[in-house]
């Protein structure tokens, strides 16, 4: 890496500290792999409950990621491109789920969307029941994952600046056209990486789901909840499933990055 052209050389001590940091992240991963009972691996991860949990996790995380994009992109645009009183406070509040313990997030969601929650009147009116449903899982995942998308996209929006947008506007493009043809293509890589982070966070979501959605096979018991439950009776199964979760995450992140790289090049050709 240090010999590759175009890169400034990194001081050795930086390299040393970075190595320690990387080991700190990678070693626990290695520890999981070492613990896996490979003889039983395939039966453990193909049991009915495991497959149900994996499929449910993939499904809910995908929907949660879509929701994050649908709501997160406008939120990031408003935070990055407008100025209004109280904006800083609003940003801090929007990013709150990052620091909030997920279990507390789950309680907050319960107090909002639960049967006795803040929105119980309108929800009763339309006959909506969220508790103990797959919808509750998706809400919990969206709640914890949304800040990842807003944060990465807002940063990118500020970095690319408003020059191209201003030029496009002077050439007669309306706000929506500028957004569609200039702004979003410019920040597409950040959007993709933000969505990937959101997906990864949704996939690993545990505390808020447990508190808000409950745990029922095929309905609300996602892979992390299945791991938590299996650990009680069968640690081997828990470890095997944890490895599956990691593998799925790395696979999805890798695929999305491929897409992100292509998106970046097309954005580059545009500008």
């Amino acid at each position: 890496m240090k010999h590759s052209p175009g890169h400034a050389r990194v001081p050795l001590w930086v390299l040393a500290i970075a190595t320690v940091g990387a080991l700190f992240v990678v070693l626990p991963l290695v520890a999981i792999v070492v613990r896996v009972n490979w003889g039983q691996f395939i039966p453990l991860i193909t049991s009915e409950s495991s497959v149900d949990a994996l499929l449910l996790s993939l499904r809910t995380s995908a929907v949660a990621t879509v929701l994050c994009v649908v709501f997160g992109v406008p939120m990031a645009l408003v935070l990055a491109r407008t100025a209004f009183p109280g904006q800083r406070i609003l940003r801090a509040l929007v990013l709150l789920p990052l620091v909030l313990p997920p279990v507390v997030g789950g309680i907050a969601l319960l107090y909002t969307f639960g049967r006795q929650g803040l929105l119980k009147e309108p929800m009763n009116l339309f006959g909506i029941q969220i508790a103990f449903s797959t919808t509750a899982v998706i809400l919990a995942q969206t709640f914890v994952a949304l800040p990842f998308l807003v944060l990465s996209l807002e940063g990118a929006l500020r970095t690319v600046g408003t020059r191209y947008e201003a030029v496009a506007a002077t050439l007669g493009a309306g706000p929506t056209t500028v957004l569609r043809r200039v702004t979003l293509p410019l920040v597409l890589p950040a959007l993709v990486s933000g969505a990937v982070l959101s997906f990864a966070r949704a996939l690993g979501e545990f505390g808020a789901t447990l508190t808000f959605a409950g745990s029922l096979q095929g309905v609300t018991r996602t892979l992390p909840l299945e791991i938590y439950l299996q650990r009680e009776s069968d640690p081997d199964a828990a470890v095997a499933l944890a490895l599956v979760l990691v593998a799925v995450a790395i696979l999805v992140v890798g695929l999305a990055n491929q897409a992100g790289v292509r998106g970046r090049f097309s954005a580059g050709s545009l500008s």
């Binding site: 639960g114 990864a200 690993g204 979501e205 944890a242 790289v261």
Partner: protein, 277 residues
């Protein structure tokens, strides 16, 4: 080049986000949890003697014993000046994992015989475990019992949102036993991994009913309402206690076990709703 490097960084970060959560939920299976080691390292016996009931011991006890054992610990310390009893409360299976992993515990009190057997099989128990309490299930409902649950059979009604423990945890195993004995099948809306999670769903009003232990209903106070049912006698959970062979304060550890199984201990347990062994 830069894009590739950045993609790789992102990949690592995203993997860390996922594994962080997964490791957090699976971590307890391989090593003593941070809470337990924090609670116990502060109380490592330094000047304890093996004979006289004096010094410091650490008691690992099932989560359902938190209220009673905290009280018993205080009373024991008062009755035996110069002693300190510290506790680590968690699910019995978590505690067993921690003890087999080398966590410094002197006494173990389990919520079921199955988990105690794991320790006796591993030859980590000194002497024979003594049963000191029993517990049975009870229906918990939100205050006012909105769904009008009066019997175990009522839980078979799909209109009653019932939350139970998953079969792999002790309270869930007891639930299955009662279902089998009565022929009543509960269409549960959620199968939780701990009694406290069941209780939380009920006290928040999210569920109409939950199956928890009698002592949980009593401990929750006004937050939930209890509906006892006769069939609960078909699944009686027995709580064993034992001094551990790794203890450096065998005398004190045994003294605490004797205290729990003696008159004072039994009175406190009985007042909390536990049955006699």
């Amino acid at each position: 080049m830069r894009t590739t490097a950045r993609s790789f960084t992102l990949l690592l970060v995203a993997a860390a986000v996922v594994t962080g959560a997964a490791a957090c939920s699976a971590g307890g299976s391989s090593a003593p949890g941070p809470q337990a080691s924090g609670a116990t390292s502060a109380s490592t016996p330094t000047a304890s003697r093996a004979t006289a009931p004096e010094g410091t011991i650490t008691v690992f006890a099932a989560a359902s014993l938190k209220a009673t054992f905290t009280q018993l610990g205080t009373e024991f310390e008062t009755a035996n000046p110069g002693t300190t009893v510290t506790f680590s409360f968690a699910g019995s299976s978590d505690l067993v994992t921690q003890i087999t992993g080398g966590a410094p515990a002197d006494v173990f009190a389990s919520a079921d015989t199955k988990n105690m057997t794991k320790l006796t099989d591993a030859r980590l128990v000194s002497g024979t475990p003594v049963n000191f309490a029993t517990n049975v299930l009870e229906i918990a409902t939100p205050p006012g019992n909105p769904a009008g649950v009066t019997s175990f059979a009522d839980l078979a009604n799909p209109g009653v949102k019932t939350v139970i423990c998953a079969p792999v945890v002790p309270c869930g195993a007891a639930t299955v036993t009662i279902e089998t004995a009565t022929g009543v099948t509960i269409p549960a809306v959620s199968e939780e991994s701990a009694v406290t999670d069941v209780l939380g769903k009920v006290s928040s009003g999210e569920a109409d009913a939950g199956l928890v232990y009698v002592t949980d209903v009593q401990g929750a106070g006004d937050a939930v309402q209890g509906v006892p049912f006769d069939e609960s006698g078909t699944a009686v959970n027995t709580y064993p206690i034992a001094a551990l062979s790794a203890t450096k304060s065998a005398g004190l550890a045994q003294a605490f076990v004797d205290y729990v199984t003696g008159t004072e201990g039994q009175a406190v347990l009985s007042a909390a709703g536990f049955g006699a062994p």
